[in-house]
């Protein structure tokens, strides 16, 4: 058995160029691993083995013709929220169980053009609403580090698949932490770029003013390679940033001597797991060794982020999900009595409980008499949170803290207490409210589970974030740890 699956995109790309192995061999290797580990992990909703092999053969042909793009022939997965032409795209929902997308999302098209091989569609919380993957209509993904635990969410399938070596990288989306939190729980690297950096066209919408796509990879260097292919102005997305995409890889090896890193004091409170706190303190020491200058910063409105988010996100979701009416696509109920029955029953049968609850809260927040007290108020708090960050970035280049207050929790542990699950997103949500880029990277272990460190940058600072993250990964080896795969097939509660 080879260890190709534990290599980075960068290493695979070099190997492919040297002819150490072909993309077809690499793809078959990953397919074999999917076959072997999927019964335990459930990280995919659909896989496309035949198509993947055919694409790999085509990319080998292109390589023979002299093409050497960094992503040519690299097997990846797409979160099942990205529309892929001619393939089922479910968003983890029964509502879209029969939905075959008639077009590709811009991200999918961009990554196809870059030469990636799409292996399959990764599992996720329904319509990206959740932090545990327990809200998927296709069963929850399990954490490869401990099968009794959640992989995080909503991009839990993407993070678990990368962590378990079932693909080289995966796409994700992040509305309140949905890339960074699963990356932290699964011990991989996850980047949420600046709002608008990557086109939202063809991504099934959850909360349009918060949603942003990004890569989940083994390393920051791979995230830079993926981001270069994914990002860019798209006239089909009116919120897309019309600025050129810099070469994120070009500056990745620069020294971070003198980089000003702020430690947010509001992130180190009673709710933070002691082992995570210790790991983050150690990470700070590593950054200091690299020449970073550490200081304390304050983001006083942090505590208001979760309440504001749980108005804004449900409000936008209630509007976005009103399109599912059983008329044009998606689930339609059997034998509707009339138009009202058709719409209500199709929606009620198609949506899961968490989605329905959020639609209800959002509808309430937007309903007559409550708009000012809830939605407008939340958008004003959003300004205060954004201003906190803008003030902090006058003093420091990056802000550092834990990605999550605790390591991966057990499946079922929080499912009866949604509010306690929502509080898991305390460190990630304010970044979406402010539209900032942030990265989660492995920075230690707590009770045998990965710990994620989050670095937050100012708007459009992805190059600086990736540079700092890469330098940290040159200094540490947390990102090289992978779940023990020797005991594949063991039962719940044990590592794979």
């Amino acid at each position: 058995m080879t260890d190709w699956h534990s290599k980075t995109i960068k290493e695979m790309s070099i190997d492919l160029a040297k002819g150490e192995y072909s993309s077809e061999e690499l793809t078959r290797h990953f397919l074999k691993r999917i076959e072997q580990h999927e019964p335990n992990l459930n990280s995919f909703i659909s896989t496309f083995p035949e198509q993947a092999i055919s694409l790999a053969q085509q990319s080998d042909e292109k390589r023979r013709e002299g093409n050497s793009e960094p992503l040519l022939g690299i097997p990846i997965a797409h979160k099942d929220i990205f529309c892929t032409k001619g393939q089922r795209t479910t968003a983890g929902s029964n509502m879209l169980d029969n939905f075959i997308s008639p077009y590709d999302a811009t991200v999918v098209e961009n990554l196809k053009t870059a030469g990636t091989i799409n292996m399959g569609k990764a599992n996720m919380d329904e319509f990206a609403m959740g932090s545990s993957n327990e809200h998927s209509a296709y069963g929850n993904t399990r954490n490869p580090w401990d099968l009794a635990r959640v992989p995080g969410g909503s991009s839990g399938g993407s993070a678990a698949a990368v962590a378990a070596g079932l693909c080289a990288a995966a796409t994700g989306t992040d509305t309140g932490g949905s890339i960074r939190q699963p990356a932290a729980f699964c011990g991989v690297t996850g980047l949420k770029p600046t709002y608008g950096r990557i086109s939202r066209y063809g991504i099934i919408a959850f909360a349009s003013s918060l949603d942003q796509a990004g890569p989940i990879t083994r390393t920051a260097e791979d995230a830079a390679i993926m981001l270069e292919a994914m990002a860019g102005y798209d006239p089909k997305d009116s919120t897309s940033i019309n600025q050129p995409v810099p070469s994120y890889s070009a500056k990745i090896n620069d020294s971070i001597e003198g980089l000003k890193v702020g430690i947010c004091k509001e992130y180190f409170t009673d709710g933070l797991d002691r082992n995570i706190e210790a790991a983050i303190q150690d990470a700070v020491t590593e950054l200091e060794k690299l020449g970073a200058v550490i200081s304390e910063v304050s983001l006083p409105n942090t505590k208001h982020a979760v309440p504001a988010y749980y108005v804004i996100a449900p409000a936008e979701c209630s509007a976005n999900l009103s399109r599912y009416d059983g008329v044009r696509f998606g689930h339609r109920c059997e034998d509707p009595a009339d138009i009202s029955d058709l719409i209500k029953r199709s929606r009620s049968e198609g949506f899961g409980e968490e989605v329905k609850s959020r639609i209800m809260v959002g509808t309430f927040a937007l309903s007559a008499g409550y708009y000012d007290a809830y939605y407008r108020k939340a958008q004003q708090i959003r300004r205060l949170i954004k201003n906190d960050f803008l003030d902090a970035f006058k003093e420091v280049d990056l802000i550092l803290g834990p990605t999550t207050p605790s390591p991966a929790f057990k499946i079922g542990e929080k499912s009866n207490d949604p509010v306690s699950m929502y509080l898991e997103d305390i460190y990630t949500i304010s970044v979406n409210l402010a539209g900032l880029p942030a990265i989660s990277l492995p920075a230690g272990m707590a009770q045998g589970l990965p710990v994620g460190m989050q670095l937050i940058g100012s708007h459009h600072s992805e190059a600086q974030l990736l540079n700092a993250a890469h330098q940290f990964q040159q200094q540490t080896d947390w990102h090289l740890k992978s779940p023990g795969l020797a005991n594949a097939g063991t039962t719940e509660g044990k590592p794979l």
């Binding site: 919120t239 979760v306 749980y310 108005v311 044009r328 209800m360 509808t363 939340a378 004003q380």
Partner: protein
């Protein structure tokens, strides 16, 4: 704020969702818990604070009023539950 059964039924109607009788109180409890979380916002002074609708404070961009996409009606209707002669079918609305 306590959400009662009447509020639940009203919101369900606005959201076009069917809530079965036995689920009403469960929804009421869940929404009350969520609203208690949200209620904390009211303690924040937001006088004269401009709301954020786009995190980059970008304004809506406009494009030239020109046809750029081809007609894909057949492809889009191929995934519809019920169509006839290019029309989406629903139960009779007008008697």
């Amino acid at each position: 704020m306590k959400i009662d059964n009447e509020v639940i039924l009203n919101i369900a109607e606005l959201a076009q969702l069917e809530v079965k009788d036995e689920m009403i109180s469960q929804y009421a409890d869940k929404m009350t818990a969520m609203l208690n979380l949200i209620e904390e916002m009211q303690s924040v002074n937001t006088d004269n604070i401009e709301p954020v609708s786009n995190p980059l404070d970008a304004v809506q961009t406009m494009r030239e009023d020109k046809v750029t996409e081809k007609d894909l009606r057949d492809e889009y209707q191929a995934i519809a539950p019920e169509v006839d002669s290019g029309l989406y079918l629903v139960p009779r609305v007008v008697e």
